[in-house]
Symmetry: C2
Subunit: 420 residues, 2 copies
């Protein structure tokens, strides 16, 4: 695949294939598409493609042959780069043996051992498919362990698309949410108040490693807040669940809060664990082993061997190549460069979040008009940047792809400047 | 792989690899294994392996090199046989393009079109990963469409492993079940009573194509009951959800109730749709299109192209080769043969369920002692039969493999006779 390294716009395909597929999709899929990848429903700029053909490394190609340097990584799962050779080789090797069977293969044990060795708090692991499988299992295990019902979560924090956690209320009943209590992220007083109001019935606090949801700016965790969550859980006998579904393996392979010295009781992993292959994981401490054993956790495809082989290869490759350090170095280059672009072009661009998962926002841009001009222009320059969701850096990015992204961002900033 | 076609016992592996993996698993997985594939927790006979190495066609091989004619099909997903050439070729072709991306590929539209063309009631389709994703989405869509809360289900019917439907109560709260109301399968009066007790608040009736859960005998649906469910839903404005996760594509590709002239409003498919690749589907009518469009349905891996390519190949192959008819013919041979074996050996064996998904039970065998003797002996003769769950026939079975299974069943019946 080619990359865009100059400031000239790529020759974009006509979009004729994308339009034709959208028309067909509208006939056989409600609204033409569902979920977070639906470009029309999520109001992405009109030049964003809906349908893709292929992807390699840090590049994706749409069905009209347009190629983009990609900073979404399939919304997180792609950690080492698309079609990573070591992962694909492990997949091919496992496929030649088998995938699904009447029971698991040895890959299950090997992957559980690898996570127990890698993730600092983990004494055991259980595997599912969706991130929501893992967050749901964590809540159920916490309730089984404590005999309590309430789960405390941060306001607007996303922990899955099921009726308990979905941000969209259609079809959700009061009963789906009656045991969910909200607090403000990084605000220990609000957490203490939520716990006090449910004294004796708090099963768990579920929290993301940093605040990465909602339409405002993202926020790193205040180490004092994380320590306070741990202390509160210890004091009241509640379970601390770290929802690593989005952030896992991009901040620290040992667990995202290991750097600040706070260990959860349970973690939910998914997205990046298998470099795009479908798998999620619950890891936990010995104290919760019996509770985990008591809960019925299963699914038709949960013991597939191929995604487990992919996950083993992904974690090994990440660790052996210093992937987290590489991503952080490039993420720092990206964020620093974006801020320089904003200053050069005198546009009010805010970059927030962890550097491997940054998010942009323009000041006084509630309808995203400026963000859309910025990202639409960058797309015309061959770089996929998202106007309202955090981006994802992968280990397949290089200084060259990041600099090309910054060139496109400069074009975007110039367009924003002109539109102000 | 070799098959066992004589009555002599195969030379079984020592089980040393299986035992070693179990010991390792007990250290890093709560209870050593989770879910429905856990042989110790589900109390399978001690000679049943926990860990498998490979599978081809109608045969599986465990980690000690023991080969079995398989009548479990990975608990349903394997429809055409393990590693089916047409499916694997479609998978390889799609893998050479790509799997996960920033949006779906054309496979999404092609598969939705194929299901709309194939499933009689379907005007649209949406795809997830787990069967539980599909059953949950059906309930949420029904609630969004009706503005009501209650879901009516048959007693002991399994519709997923989430807290709403799991058969195991650990970690489940009252709120998880407060909107679930039970009736007796094939008992229209009990359904009418459940609906009347929740007059004005019934969002949906969810029902399996035949009664395939619980530890008793299975039961085909009474056509008058199915028609009565349809009439009740029409009368009270509730949504009829057919949970095809287990039975789908083994009874009728058009939908399992098409043979009796009853069409649901929503169907949940999974297991067999992708011949083992992880995918589930919700199909629905135009009347529910807007409601489906209003619900947030998404997951990190829900738009993978490889399982969609597998599903397209699976449905085409099933239809083009008359797979359902083939499975039904062999299933009839299996069930007839089992009843003859029981008569020949004078053992009180009951065979119930649809012939492609039969279940065995011995009379007066509440602790499964006789069922375990039967299946344990059959396993020693190289055939995997399950003592308390329904079996699954695949299109890879032949008269030869079914007859070999019956030879093993005869050995099992002989052992049961001796133990009576």
């Amino acid at each position: 695949m080619t990359t865009t390294s100059s400031s000239s716009a790529t020759t974009l395909g006509s979009g004729v294939h994308d339009r034709a597929l959208r028309a067909r999709a509208h006939r056989v899929i409600p609204g033409g598409m569902y979920g977070h990848l639906a470009v029309e429903k999520t109001q992405l700029p009109t030049n964003f493609p809906q349908f893709y053909e292929t992807a390699v490394g840090a590049h994706v190609r749409d069905v009209d042959g347009n190629e983009y340097i990609d900073l979404m990584c399939s919304w997180g799962p792609v950690l080492l780069g698309y079609a990573h050779p070591a992962v694909e080789e492990a997949v091919r090797r496992q496929m030649s043996l088998g995938d699904i069977n009447n029971g698991p293969s040895a890959r299950l044990v090997e992957l559980a051992e690898l996570l127990v060795d890698t993730v600092a708090h983990a004494d055991w692991a259980i595997f599912g498919k969706n991130g929501t499988d893992a967050t749901t299992a964590c809540c159920t295990i916490a309730r089984a362990a404590t005999g309590r019902t309430k789960i405390l979560k941060a306001t607007t924090a996303y922990h899955g698309s099921n009726p308990t956690f979905t941000p969209i209320p259609a079809g959700v009943t009061d009963a789906d949410r009656v045991n969910i209590v909200e607090f403000a992220f990084n605000d220990l007083a609000s957490l203490e108040a939520a716990a006090a109001e449910n004294d004796g019935d708090v099963a768990a606090v579920i929290v993301t490693p940093f605040f990465h949801d909602g339409f405002g700016d993202l926020a790193s965790v205040d180490p004092a807040f994380a320590a306070g969550v741990r202390a509160l859980c210890d004091r009241i006998g509640a379970v601390l669940i770290l929802d690593e579904v989005r952030a896992g393996f991009r901040l620290d392979v040992r667990g995202s809060w290991e750097r600040i010295g706070v260990r959860p009781d349970l973690s939910a992993f998914s997205k990046a664990l298998g470099n795009g292959y479908p798998i999620s994981a619950i890891t936990g401490t010995d104290q919760l082993r019996d509770a985990a054993d008591s809960v019925y956790l299963t699914g038709s495809f949960w013991l597939q061997s191929v995604p487990m082989a992919a996950a083993i290869a992904t974690v090994h490759e990440l660790v052996n190549t210093g992937g987290v350090e590489h991503m952080n170095s490039l993420g720092q280059r990206l964020v620093t460069g974006l801020r320089a672009v904003a200053e050069d072009h005198e546009v009010p661009l805010i970059v927030s979040g962890e550097v491997t998962m940054p998010k942009i926002r323009f000041v006084d841009d509630p309808d995203l008009r400026l963000a859309n001009v910025f990202c639409s222009t960058a797309l015309d320059f061959g770089v996929f940047l998202h106007p309202w969701h955090n981006w994802f850096v992968s280990a397949a990015h290089t200084e060259g792809t990041i600099d090309a992204a910054l060139t496109a961002a400069a074009a975007g900033a110039s367009a924003v400047r002109q539109s102000l």
